[in-house]
């Protein structure tokens, strides 16, 4: 035997890791690189021309309709992220602090139960609530608050509500997980030093749970900015977000190069958010 034991061990290990690596390379890395290449090609009179240029990226900055998509995406995502954190934090706090220990797990499961509705159906069910003849309008009209049904669906507010509904549940989980890890000694120490309940909460508890908040907020950002379903169902066709514009390129126009370029831009936005987030967390910890 020319191979040492160590070499044969290593060879076996390569055999175990190879299938997963091959799958990731073949069906993730290669397609991704192909998409990058595609974004530098263009579509002319129905055919894809493999001539390298930056036209698609330039068009993104020149055509207002495309650029507005990114602006809409960023605006909606920021509103949703902030709103979800603000709504989820008190709920997580209540479950962690005010609910008796043995009921906490149940309370948490209940708080995220609608998480398990099908993703497409979840947005649809908000239509039942918000549409012209939906629950809210009918209730308002029965009570007599409004005479005419309000236009609650098919706009940005509906999209924000649909998203916030989903991410409040997600953030409640991440923030709760952070809150229950805090030692009660922090609160005792703060109280000993003369802080009242609010001061303790604001100056001690909130800063200590920032990592949990940021993790959840980043997750919200990534999932929200990349989502096509919720804005498509709830937003009507007003104020399109970037994923909707990407899908438009695929559907009617079959403009794969443009769709690829817009996807890369979407990805860069997410990467930028990640870098800012990671950096900010590092500064906070230092």
């Amino acid at each position: 035997m020319s191979m040492t034991l160590e070499q044969s061990e290593q060879r076996k290990a390569w055999g175990f890791v190879a299938p997963a690596l091959a799958w990731t390379l073949a069906f993730f890395v290669v397609p991704f690189l192909f998409m990058v290449a595609m974004s530098l090609w263009s579509r002319q009179s129905g055919a894809i021309v493999r001539a390298w240029n930056l036209d698609n990226y330039l068009a993104f900055f020149e055509k207002a309709a495309l650029f507005k998509g990114l602006v809409n995406s960023l605006e909606i995502t920021l509103i949703v992220t902030v709103l979800s954190v603000v709504l989820a934090y008190p709920l997580a706090w209540i479950i962690a602090e005010r609910v008796p220990k043995r009921f906490q797990r149940m309370a948490l499961i209940m708080a995220v139960l609608p998480f398990w509705t099908s993703y497409v159906v979840r947005s649809y069910s908000w239509l039942l609530v918000l549409s012209k003849n939906g629950v809210v309008n009918q209730t308002l009209m029965t009570v007599g608050l409004v005479g005419e049904p309000l236009e609650l669906a098919s706009n940005r507010t509906a999209t924000v509500i649909g998203f916030t509904h989903f991410f409040v549940m997600l953030l409640t989980l991440t923030i709760y997980a952070n809150l229950i890890q805090l030692s009660p000694n922090y609160r005792r120490a703060a109280a000993d030093l003369g802080a009242n309940a609010f001061e303790t909460f604001w100056h001690v508890i909130v800063p200590l749970t920032l990592p949990g908040i940021m993790t959840g907020a980043f997750l919200t950002f990534v999932l929200c900015i990349g989502d096509y379903v919720t804005p498509q169902i709830l937003g009507g066709n007003n104020e399109l977000v970037l994923p909707q514009i990407i899908m438009l390129q695929l559907g009617r126009r079959a403009d794969f190069p443009m769709a690829a370029a817009l996807s890369i831009i979407l990805m860069l936005a997410v990467t930028l958010a990640y870098v800012l987030c990671a950096r900010w967390l590092k500064i906070e910890r230092a």
Binding site: V17, A20, F28, M35, I94, V121, S125, Q138, G226
Partner: protein
């Protein structure tokens, strides 16, 4: 004392409001799936199971349901198997560039499903590979493999190493150690990874939408139902999926996680 009462009251009010917000759409969805009439909005005309009957009589929906099940099962099995093998190799052997390999395996987690789907679609088009349930399955393995790998890898603590070494000293081959020693020890996290993958695949829309053609999965079929606007049949299939998910979740909660939670 007074302040405590105030905080308690405020907490209750807030919790009630936010639970109301969280449950409102689901409650409306389920309630109006029993609507005796053509519109799933108030007023509630009376209790009827006609829409559930309609769902079960709908060939396309039932086919999509089966497709979803098959795709979820197979893609999760593959993702778990590949994830487990990779985790075993990277946790138990010293391989060059292991940090890079781990990073590569996790990478798809950081990319939007839309982008993963689009990349695969462009490549499949370029090679002239027709879209089918298999291509959907390939996409679902891509998104679930990082998850399975991460979950199983993080549970491969050093405390298991000695048991595996003992098995090897007694003459067991690598495969035998994996199947008879490592896998059973890690069964809770393998099962967690598997069921998580199943739920992700089961509910995934955009990859299934872009990478399928004639045979579609349930979310894609529901998507095409949405074109008919508000329809109690959509409520019925939505409620069914929700009830099944909750049942599975409860089953896991009271069997799998109850046990591991204490260990």
């Amino acid at each position: 004392m007074l302040r405590n009462v105030l905080i308690s009251t405020a907490s209750w009010v807030y919790a009630t409001l936010i639970f109301g917000f969280i449950f409102l759409p689901v409650a409306v969805l389920v309630l109006f799936s029993f609507q005796d009439g053509r519109l799933p909005v108030p007023p509630f005309n009376g209790f009827s199971t006609q829409w559930y009957t309609a769902v079960f009589a709908d060939r396309k929906l039932m086919a999509a349901l089966l497709n979803s099940f098959v795709v979820a099962l197979f893609s999760s099995l593959i993702a778990c198997l590949l994830g487990f093998l990779a985790a075993y190799a990277l946790a138990r052997h010293k391989l060059p560039g292991s940090a890079l390999q781990r990073g590569l395996l996790i990478a798809p987690m950081t990319v939007s499903y839309l982008i993963i789907a689009l990349g695969l679609l462009t490549v499949l088009n370029a090679f002239g590979i027709p879209l089918s349930l298999s291509t959907v399955g390939i996409g679902h393995v891509v998104i679930n493999l990082p998850l399975c790998f991460a979950i199983i890898y993080s549970s491969m603590g050093d405390h298991h190493v000695n048991i595996e070494r003992a098995a090897r000293d007694l003459g067991a081959s690598d495969i035998k150690v994996m199947v008879l020693v490592t896998a059973p020890m890690l069964m809770p996290s393998i099962l967690a990874a598997f069921f998580l993958s199943v739920t992700f695949s089961w509910d995934e829309f955009i990859i299934a939408f872009l990478l399928s053609r004639f045979d579609v999965t349930l979310p894609v079929e529901i998507w095409s139902l949405l074109r008919s606007g508000l329809n109690p049949k959509t409520n019925a299939i939505g409620s069914l999926v929700f009830q099944v998910s909750v049942a599975v979740l409860m089953l896991l909660e009271f069997t799998l996680f109850r046990k591991t939670g204490k260990s």
